[in-house]
Amino acid sequence: MIAVHHPPPVFGWFCLLLMKKTSIKIYYAGGLESEHLSREQISRWFDEFDELQILAEVSVSPIRVSEGSLGWLAALARRIIRDWNSFDGCVVSFTPDFFIIGSTILQQLMPEAGKPVVCVSAPLTSQHDNAYGEILYKASMLNAVQVALSDVAGVLIQRGNTLVGVEQNDDMSDGKLVTVGSIDFGIQLQKNRAKRSRVKPAPSAMKFDTVSYVRAGSRQARTEELARAQAKHFIIDGGARLQLGVEKQVPAGKTALLLSEQAAYLYMDGSLREVDAPTRAIAAARYVVALESGGESALEQQLGTRL
């Protein structure tokens, strides 16, 4: 009888590194300054990004981001899980305004993941809220790929030089953002971080196709967007300029989560309630998860609202 020795996962991982160039998958859902790029333009941009090829064998999948609902985000999570065995780590690139919210929702969709899923975006420059440079985006992408190659697991948010994850409670619904590591001449990871394992996330049944994300904009543009959207529920992101009375633009019979820079409010049945959540992104994640799991009746309890 031949004894088969199974190496411990970490040892196996390093052997894998020695044997072949590591494979990293990038799911591109925004991040470059130009928003409307074709699949070919996105692929070409990454092909010409030579510095990335130094780190790993990188393949890029442009993601179709539909503006009608957040269904694309749930589809992205299912796609990542479907591709799970084809990569050693993956990176998800979001547009800057949706970055933290999208990443946090993705964490809810994949609470247990034995490989790193690193969320990244272009850092906004301090001079102008809406301007971001290509070099800084490339630097962030290098950092994200390096994290995706590291011995760390779970959906992580790489914000500037800091890497954050979500501290999960038993019910997996009340996570707080915690620092997992930093980027400083290499990836400096906390000792108590989750490490790589064979855990493959279970596909979530959530679809998010009834929720639409609406960006801050002019009153008229927002009114038109809200009226046009087929969704039953909205996340209205006012950023630093959430206007008073914005809830009156929400079509009758629909709910909305209103986000300002500092707080979140639930608009339902004609009244406005403040949401009790550590961050606005976590409020958004709880909102979409609560709608999927319990419908509108679960919103108040899940969001811990108060009048």
Binding site: Q53, A139, S182, Q188
Partner: protein, 187 residues
């Protein structure tokens, strides 16, 4: 001048050479201990003026540093043992047209210190001043044709023949891929 050093091979020769020349040195161990305030810099490379990387057997970290250096055009010296070139990595370094900010040098025990010193002198403004003084006397035989050209150039541009020769040689050195033996810096 602050220099970042990544070196797992020479037993501290690179770091010692830098410290002897009075250069402030940052190593991976220092960076891990210091943990700079992330909000203070756009990228960690902003903390240093240049880097020296030993790349004979490139690990994941050195590949990461080199990728950032190429992206940010950060002056970097990549050293590898003679006859042990990391070919795949060098392909990326040598892409694009010179002059490139990333220099490579295949060293022996006898040449490593001088190559590091040359790199520092080239990139440290304080040390550059000394390096730019024409203090070495040199005798050179020229052809009459070259002499006619120098005569014409010095009169037309109101400069000395020696200055013109130095200028030509400096340009040639900047653009050259093979430097003098022992001090050769491939770009």
């Amino acid at each position: 001048m602050i220099l970042y050093i990544h070196d797992n091979k020479t037993g501290g020769v690179i770091e010692q050479t830098c410290r002897t020349l009075g250069v402030e040195v940052l190593t991976a161990a220092d960076a891990e201990k210091q943990q700079a305030d992330a909000s203070q810099v756009d990228t960690f490379l902003d903390r240093v003026d240049a880097m020296v990387l030993e790349i004979t057997k490139p690990d994941q970290q050195v590949q990461f540093l080199l990728a950032h250096a190429i992206l940010a055009q950060k002056p970097t010296l990549c050293l590898y043992g003679k006859n042990q070139p990391p070919r795949e990595l060098l392909k990326y370094v040598k892409k694009g047209k010179p002059p490139r900010p990333i220099k490579t040098f295949s060293y022996t025990d006898g040449t490593i210190e001088r190559s590091v010193a040359n790199f520092i002198i080239t990139h440290d403004p304080e040390k550059q001043e000394f390096d730019d003084i024409p203090s070495i006397k040199y005798t050179l035989r020229l052809t009459p044709r070259i002499e006619r050209y120098l005569e014409w150039y010095s009169e037309t541009h109101q400069t000395t023949k020696a200055d013109r020769i130095r200028e030509l040689l400096e340009n040639a050195a900047d653009e050259s891929d093979d430097y003098a033996e022992g001090e050769r810096v491939e770009q």
